[in-house]
């Protein structure tokens, strides 16, 4: 057994690596130390409060849109919650709309109809190459501000109204017995899932294909309808109506939120459309011929071969677009939609002056969302990698 060569410790590669890394850590700590020291001195000199105590202080300002109970006596902590919820609301609606529009335009780009393909392509090229902030300004200042006032509102069926104060929609109001209807709907939904699974099992066992769509749809709709008829239709609508200078009743979607949602949805849709197009084109190239050689028809080919594989290509970049949309919703501050940045990093910061704490919290919220998203993507990629082997 050969004895290893003896080398002086300072000539060892590992020693050098360790020293280098130790120096790096020391450098970073020093930098943080200097910054912290400066911050402490400045904060003392300017008599700014420190710590997270301010979250329990009364905010004393109003927020135009709140999803939870909030009034002027609420705390800054409550403001934070209101901001987060408003950000999530706008992001959720934006994501749904962007997905719908994005898939529509993405598939449109591949249409055999020349005009449709060109139209979809132009949409992508125009929207993607303009700054998002410009688009938000466009929708907010140029389109929604230019709408008529409440008295000259555009209305549909005397229930939906659009004017420069916002979009007024009828609000559903549940009455007694509504729970019964929900119960019937849930039972129908479970039954329809059961029916679908059963039809699948029959097809796999016998090869017989029976259409399930009419049956499952009926199961979803009929029990709920019957139950609400039995309970005497226990739901009413609060319909917006003009009273004085403005509308009362119903739900109002603020123009700020409308502009933000429309701009975020169209902007992100242009990216999603490209992802969808690339996903389908990438799969279609080799697999179409293989599927045709097996004798599948066009519908079967799309459903069984192209779409499942394309979705695998599409979902990871799609997820990061959802994250981008959520981060981009911070542009709300430019038109004063009360999102997290606007009410917390904006108003709360200027009232308390506690920049470090507030910006750290704000960034931490977004960072948490990002890390959750990338955790999902890692999980998904690992799962796909497994099934591909």
């Amino acid at each position: 057994m050969a004895t290893p060569l003896r080398i002086a410790w300072w000539r060892r590669r590992r020693t050098r690596d360790l020293l280098f890394q130790a120096a790096l850590i020391a450098g970073v700590l020093l930098l943080f130390g200097i910054m912290a020291n400066n911050a402490i001195q400045t904060v003392e000199r300017q008599h700014i409060a420190t710590g997270f105590g301010f979250l329990d202080h009364t905010a004393g300002f109003d927020v135009v849109q709140t999803l939870v109970r909030y009034d002027e006596t609420s705390t800054y902590g409550r403001v934070l919650l209101v901001g987060i919820l408003n950000t999530l609301l706008v992001a959720a609606i934006g994501i749904v709309l962007a997905t719908l529009l994005g898939f529509l335009v993405g598939i449109g780009q591949l249409s055999s109809n020349w005009l449709v393909a060109r139209l979809a392509r132009s949409f992508v090229e125009i929207v993607r190459n303009l700054p998002l902030l410009l688009q938000i300004f466009f929708w907010y200042f140029a389109v929604l501000r230019a709408l008529p006032g409440p008295r000259e509102s555009w209305g549909v069926a005397d229930a939906v109204f659009l004017n420069n104060r916002g979009l007024y929609l009828p609000a559903p109001v549940a009455e007694s017995g509504f729970g019964f209807v929900m119960l019937a709907f849930a039972a129908g939904a479970i039954a329809s899932i059961f029916m679908f699974l059963r039809a699948k099992a029959v097809r796999e066992r016998t090869g017989r294909v029976s259409p399930v769509a009419p049956g499952t749809t009926a199961l979803l709709v009929v029990p709920a309808l019957l139950a609400s008829a039995a309970a005497g239709f226990p739901m009413s609508f609060s319909v917006p109506a003009l009273s004085g200078f403005n509308f009362q009743g119903g739900i109002v979607v603020l123009p700020e939120m409308m502009a933000l949602v429309v701009a975020l949805a169209t902007y992100t849709a242009s990216y999603i459309a490209e992802i969808v197009r690339a996903g389908i084109e990438g799969v279609a190239r080799g697999q179409t011929e293989a599927a045709q050689a097996l004798g599948l028809n066009r519908g079967q080919m799309l459903r069984l071969v192209i779409v499942p594989q394309a979705m695998r290509q599409i979902i990871p970049p799609l997820t990061s677009q959802y994250l981008n949309l959520t981060k981009n919703s911070s542009l709300a501050v430019a038109i004063a939609y009360p999102d997290l940045v606007s009410v917390f990093a904006g108003t709360t910061l200027s009232q308390t002056g506690q920049a470090i704490e507030i910006i750290a919290i704000t960034m931490a919220v977004y960072l948490t969302l990002s890390l959750l998203t990338s955790a999902f993507m890692n999980w998904y990629n690992a799962r796909v990698a497994l099934t591909e082997r």
Partner: protein
């Protein structure tokens, strides 16, 4: 010499070109569903394009010196707003007598970029080095002053100038930083790797708006001095975009086969030399389309600095539109149309260039 003559090649039979009617039937009206789609598309076009053309050209005010000249054109663009304010839109509040310095800077930038992007120009490497290393310094002296030039404080910069300064500084500063971070993320040393990952994921995980808020509110606390506001914003933009740049370059590094690293090591090249001469030249070439893509994103994102009070291209038009001197129902929209056209031309041009690069890299592969 051949004992059996090879068959002579002949041209393929020519397919008759489809007439316009056949073309229409095939591409637009092949089935009832297709025809319905065509009608819907035509309707959309009619509802979007016709009003836009009427507003922007036919019903627009073209000449004038103030809002009164535009008020007469209720349903058309107010172009005099743009033409009267064009100086501000390009230069911000830069001293009128010193504007030649901005012109010189922008012409230098345009010439340099043209040289680098035109295929077949000689000496791209030295020109590239000058653009990345020397040009920013020259541009800084020209714009800010010093060396006998009158000083122009950055608070007077604005408009297109500001947009380009932020975008160009961002890209130039983020390239070296991004390369270091990308190498760091692939390092075998756990501390180097951990710090790089933390840095990259932190900036990529938060919106640019919060980063700009940080620059405006937090950076002065950390530095302890009063910092030039523009410098603070530039640092923030550079840090932010270097995280994205690092990921783009990491993608390029990952595409380099392991054999290249091994061959370089086997010849006795040290880590830094093999990176500098073997790996990075190939990786950067591969990432070039995505670097351009990154730059497009950065250029669009520069408009966000108007949120922390700078008058960039979008910010100055937004401010001008609310100016009572020009307030008409169409002023804002006219401004947006102009700014949009400028941004669109720059971004679309660059994205075309990126697509072209992808084609070149994909087809030729190696030079």
């Amino acid at each position: 010499m051949a004992n059996a003559p090879t068959k002579a090649s002949r041209p393929p039979p020519r397919a008759p070109l489809p007439g316009p009617i056949e073309w229409l039937r095939e591409n637009l009206f092949s089935s009832w569903g297709n025809a319905a789609l065509t009608v819907v598309a035509l309707l959309i076009l009619y509802w979007v394009v016709v009003p836009f053309v009427r507003w922007a050209f036919i019903d627009a005010a073209w000449t004038g010196t103030g809002r009164d000249d535009c008020l007469a054109f209720e349903n058309g663009a107010c172009w005099p707003f743009v033409s009267e304010r064009i100086g501000q839109i390009i230069y911000g509040f830069y001293d009128v007598t010193e504007r030649w310095r901005v012109d010189l800077t922008l012409i230098g930038l345009a010439l340099g970029l043209l040289w680098l992007t035109m295929p077949g120009m000689p000496g791209k490497r030295p020109v590239g080095a000058v653009m990345v290393l020397a040009y920013p310094l020259i541009a800084f002296v020209l714009l800010a002053g010093g060396f006998g030039l009158e000083e122009v404080p950055t608070t007077r910069w604005g408009g297109l100038l500001m947009t380009l300064v932020v975008a160009f500084t961002g890209i130039v500063a983020s390239l070296p930083l991004g390369i270091l971070l990308a190498l760091g993320r692939r390092s075998e040393l756990p501390v180097v790797k951990g710090l790089s990952v933390a840095f990259i994921e932190l900036w990529r995980g938060v919106p640019l708006v919060t980063v700009l808020f940080m620059a405006a509110n937090m950076l002065p606390l950390f530095v302890g001095l009063s910092v030039n506001k523009l410098l603070a914003a530039l640092i923030a933009v550079a840090l932010f975009s270097s995280a994205y740049m690092a990921e783009v370059i990491r993608g390029g590094l990952q595409a380099i086969p392991k054999g290249q690293y091994e061959a370089a090591a086997a010849m006795g090249l040290s880590y830094w030399r093999s990176m500098a001469f073997v790996i990075l030249p190939q990786a950067l070439r591969l990432s070039l389309p995505n670097i351009v893509g990154n730059f497009i994103g950065l250029l669009k994102d520069t408009s966000l600095i108007s949120i922390i009070g700078f008058f960039d291209l979008l910010g100055i038009v937004q401010a001008g539109a609310t100016d009572p001197e020009w307030a008409t129902p169409n002023t804002a929209l006219t401004g947006y149309a102009f700014v949009g056209a400028v941004f669109w031309a720059m971004c679309f041009g660059m994205s075309r260039y990126a697509t072209h690069l992808e084609g070149v890299l994909g087809a030729g592969g190696r030079r």
